[in-house]
């Protein structure tokens, strides 16, 4: 049997994490079909068909799918679930919202947030904020799996020419209405996929002081992250939160500034390749995961850091 991957998109473009989920799905079974549920999303269908790991694109196009509503997506997925051994999507807010609804109606115990495919029924997943790894085997006949996107490479977006099959829409729920989405537009790299992330914590003391972080981020072409404490205190908006209940990031370089390093924050960044911690408290737990720790007052260290970066003639982009 084939595997079915549910695409996340905005009717214009495929969201990047779908490409990571495609890689994971193809490791489960190479006969990978992608289900695209959207409205006027022909461009998305075309770009998915060009992903070389994709064997077929199922495209449902109807105005009721202009905005993503889990109830409507679920009804559409259930119409086609029969033919597949696995239903898969990314474990971000899109997939976390959607997949359990699908799994419950199929009477399947979902495997959430896998970081490795061991075999088509056995997976590795972090538990307890990543402080333990569980090897789990699903004994359900059909499986619902969500993928931690940062644990898999993004699939190549070229070289494929999969067939696009148009299929019918399902019923629409009357009980949920989309009102609006406040998307914060930014020219910076996305937090989830950035090569460099610089994050601020409670040590920044105010939203205005995040400017110190922003200046360095501009120089390094980095994404900006934050600890939960900084978001809770209103220094910065929620989509920047890194941690167990925020985003998980795995950049080449993660710079934690004024972040003590609570277990919940470490869960979101400790797989980063190189970690730098700048904190004036030498005993802060963040130093236990840092490759390079600098015990210093961030209000002095950050401007100096920027100055030193400016002295370098080349900065990798």
């Amino acid at each position: 049997m084939s595997v079915l991957l549910i695409a996340e998109h905005n009717n214009k473009e495929v969201k990047p994490f779908t490409l990571n989920a495609i890689t994971a799905a193809s490791q489960i079974d190479q006969d990978l079909h992608v289900l695209l549920i959207g409205s006027k999303a022909d461009d998305v269908a075309k770009s998915l068909s060009e992903v070389s790991l994709v064997k077929k694109v199922l495209h449902i196009d109807h105005e009721i799918y202009e905005n993503y509503i889990a109830e409507n997506y679920t009804a559409a997925i259930l119409k086609h679930a029969d033919k597949y051994s696995h239903i898969i999507c990314s474990a971000n807010t899109f997939g976390k919202n959607l997949m359990p609804r699908v799994a419950a109606l199929l009477d399947i115990s979902q495997v959430s947030d896998i970081i490795k495919v061991i075999s088509p029924d056995t997976f590795l997943r972090p538990i307890y904020a990543g402080n333990a790894f569980a090897t789990v085997k699903s004994n359900d006949e059909k499986k619902c799996v969500t993928i931690r996107p940062t644990s898999f490479e993004a699939a190549e977006t070229t070289g494929g020419s999969a067939e696009i099959e148009k299929i019918d829409a399902a019923d629409q729920t009357e009980n949920t209405k989309f009102i609006n989405r406040e998307e914060i537009k930014s020219d910076r790299p996305e937090l989830g996929t950035a090569r460099i992330v610089i994050s601020g914590g409670r040590g920044l003391q105010s939203g205005e002081n995040f400017k110190l972080i922003t200046d360095v981020a501009d120089k390094l072409n980095a994404a900006i992250g934050a600890s939960r404490a900084a978001v809770d205190a209103g220094y910065i908006t929620n989509e920047h939160q890194v941690g167990q209940t925020g985003k998980v990031v795995v950049p080449d370089l993660y710079i934690a500034v004024g972040i003590s390093g609570a277990i919940q924050h470490l869960a979101g960044m400790k797989e980063s390749k190189v970690i730098v911690a700048i904190n004036k408290d030498g005993e802060a737990p963040i130093f236990s995961v840092a490759d390079y720790g600098l015990e210093a007052d961030l209000f002095e260290a950050l401007p100096q850091f920027l100055e030193e970066l400016n002295k370098l003639n080349t900065i990798q982009k």
Binding site: I69, A70, T93, F94, K96, N97, L98, P100, R101, A103, A104, L105, I108, S109, Q110, V111, S112, D113, T122, Y128, A129, N131, A132, F133, T135, V136, K137, S138, N139, T173, E174, N175, T176, I179, E182, E183, G192, I196, V231, D232, N238, E239, Q244, T245, D252, I263, Q264, K273, I275, Y292, G293, L294, E295, A301, F305, E308, L309, L312, I315, Q316
Partner: protein, 249 residues
């Protein structure tokens, strides 16, 4: 309006967990246990709605072993009116919990069901959505703001891109984010009063729900350890190391 709030007992969020040497799980003996943090937000929100005169009764429910009752007792101490403890021993997966909660919903007929968006032990993030599916109710997940109207809710959800607002008709399920509110502490008099509030005990086996796990835990292990790092003496040294040793800038 009646609100059912589901709570879970988990290892306290401040505890550094230890993995058992035989790979069978994590150490829970003599470890501090607490209510799953976003479940505290769920209770708090229900209490605020009741205080605003928009709800008449709050029922706290938990599914788990004998001691799970503590989380219900805590919910009673911050404002829930009565409790339900569905007793079950051993591991129970979100799918089974959601089926048990469905039975409780059918018995109690609440207008709203609240719970935390995710439990910090298994990190599954499934139960609320699964319950919504079983009941064919709308779901508003990862809520950071809830506005209660006559027959609907307007819910602001924390999503990857920022904030999304949806409207759901009641009855509905809401899973709560940590930023929804600031959970209160129970006062001593309220803790004393909570001891007199009723907690109904139900055996999961009497509800006719199959609670056998479908997922086998083959092995629980420690994640790979990071190589110990170094402390640098100055910003200058840091930049040199990043440039010449780590080669990341």
């Amino acid at each position: 309006m009646k609100i059912l709030v589901a709570v879970k007992r988990v290892i306290d969020y401040n505890v550094q967990i230890r993995v058992k040497e035989d790979g069978s799980g994590v150490v829970t003996d003599n470890v501090k246990m607490s209510t799953n943090p976003p479940d505290d937000n769920a209770i708090e929100e229900a209490v605020k709605i009741k205080e605003a005169g928009k709800a008449k009764e709050i029922i706290a429910v938990t599914v788990g072993e004998e001691k799970a009752q503590e989380t219900v007792r805590k919910a009673l101490a911050v404002g829930a009116d009565r409790g339900i403890h569905v007793k079950v021993d051993g591991t129970i997966e979100p799918l089974a919990v959601s089926k048990i909660l469905k039975k409780i919903v059918e018995k109690e007929n609440p207008d709203l069901v609240f719970m935390g968006k995710q439990a910090i032990d298994d990190d599954c993030n499934q139960t609320g959505q699964m319950l919504a599916a079983h009941l064919n109710w709308p779901q508003a997940t990862f809520a950071s703001k809830i506005e209660v109207n006559d027959k609907s809710l307007q819910v602001t959800r924390e999503v990857d891109e920022g904030l999304e607002t949806i409207e759901v008709n009641t009855p509905a399920i809401v899973t709560c984010d940590l930023r929804l509110n600031e959970p209160r502490y129970a006062s001593l008099p309220n803790i004393m009063k909570a001891k007199k509030k009723p907690i109904e005990q139900i055996n999961a086996s009497d509800l006719g729900v199959d609670t056998n796990p479908r997922i086998e835990h083959i092995k629980i292990e420690e994640p790979p350890k990071r190589k110990a790092g170094i402390k640098v003496a100055s910003v200058e040294e840091l930049v040199q190391k990043l440039k010449n040793e780590a080669k990341v800038i």
